[in-house]
């Protein structure tokens, strides 16, 4: 009987599959927030690309001053952190609470590594005289990356809460909306960085 239930859940009956094809993971409220955030970043990305059209020489010369290797490492770190969170979700769906806590901790450590690397990069930028009021590129670059930095910081706070709740046994295979909600926010932050990295560090 137990085997039958597990198998049915794993494969999914037709109504169950239909149900699974409906809901967004996590809380709907966070998805409204995610779409709003994506819209803001999207407008800023297009504004950067349009501003570059009339200042190509300036954007190319300033871009050459950036720590592009640092940007690459940060991208690899954030993608890995997203992977950890996706694995945390898979673990809790299989009721592996301890594994879920470990994956969440892995994501937290990688998020912290991103922040440390970004602080070092901001320090390098300050050393070479970059500031918001210096030119158009600096204004866009510093605004976009610092705005994103604050989002990673927020995501770290959310994952800290998730780790705490997981260790206290608040989540299980049946109840893990909190983990899906927090993970969705983190993945949004990663998605924004993927586009930001290409726009600011790669395209020239």
């Amino acid at each position: 009987m137990h085997t039958h239930v597990l198998t049915a859940n794993a494969i999914g009956s037709v109504p169950a599959r239909r149900e699974a094809h409906k809901a967004l993971p996590g809380d709907l409220a966070v998805w409204i927030f995610i779409f709003a955030e994506l819209l803001v970043f999207g407008v800023l990305f297009v504004a950067y690309a349009l501003a570059r059209r009339s200042h190509i020489e300036l954007f190319n010369s300033e871009q050459a001053l950036l720590d592009r290797q640092g940007g690459l490492v940060n991208t690899l770190v954030l993608i890995s952190s997203s992977f950890c969170l996706a694995c945390a979700g898979a673990a809790i769906r299989a009721d592996r609470v301890r594994a879920c806590a470990l994956w969440l901790s892995g994501a937290w450590v990688l998020g912290a590594a991103f922040l440390v690397l970004k602080v070092l990069e901001f320090s390098h930028d300050a050393d070479i005289g970059m500031q918001l009021s210096r030119n158009l590129f600096d204004m866009f670059y510093l605004s976009l990356t610092f705005f994103h930095f604050m989002h990673v910081l927020m995501a770290m706070v959310i994952v800290s809460v998730l780790i705490h709740h997981t260790l206290r046994g608040h989540y299980s295979a049946r109840a893990h909306t909190g983990i899906e909600t927090g993970s969705s926010y983190w993945h949004m932050v990663d998605l924004v960085w993927i586009m930001l990295f290409v726009l600011v560090y790669v395209l020239h």
Partner: protein, 92 residues
């Protein structure tokens, strides 16, 4: 029971593959596409960016199995931003 254990992790088993694809596409964008002429370089880098975004949305965010409306909304966003950036970089 063995069947159930086999069926459960299939979605999770895809995650390492997706992660590897995302990391490889990032490295390819950074190191591998520089040798192409400017216009092709921009197109290829943006195509890789769109693909990475779509992989992340489908597999990490888990939108692959949700209602079509949400998937379409996210796909349109990714495509819209990618095309807008592409036009700004490529149109004279």
């Amino acid at each position: 029971m063995a069947h159930a254990q086999h069926a459960l992790p299939t979605q999770a088993q895809r995650l390492p593959l997706v992660c590897c694809a995302l990391l490889l596409l990032t490295l390819l964008s950074y190191y591998g596409l520089n040798r192409f002429p400017e216009r092709s370089f921009v197109l290829l880098v943006l195509a890789a960016m769109w693909l990475k975004g779509q992989l992340l949305v489908d597999h990490f965010m888990g939108l692959r199995t949700v209602r079509r409306f949400w998937r379409l909304l996210m796909a349109l966003y990714l495509l819209g931003v990618t095309v807008a950036i592409g036009l700004a970089f490529l149109l004279d």
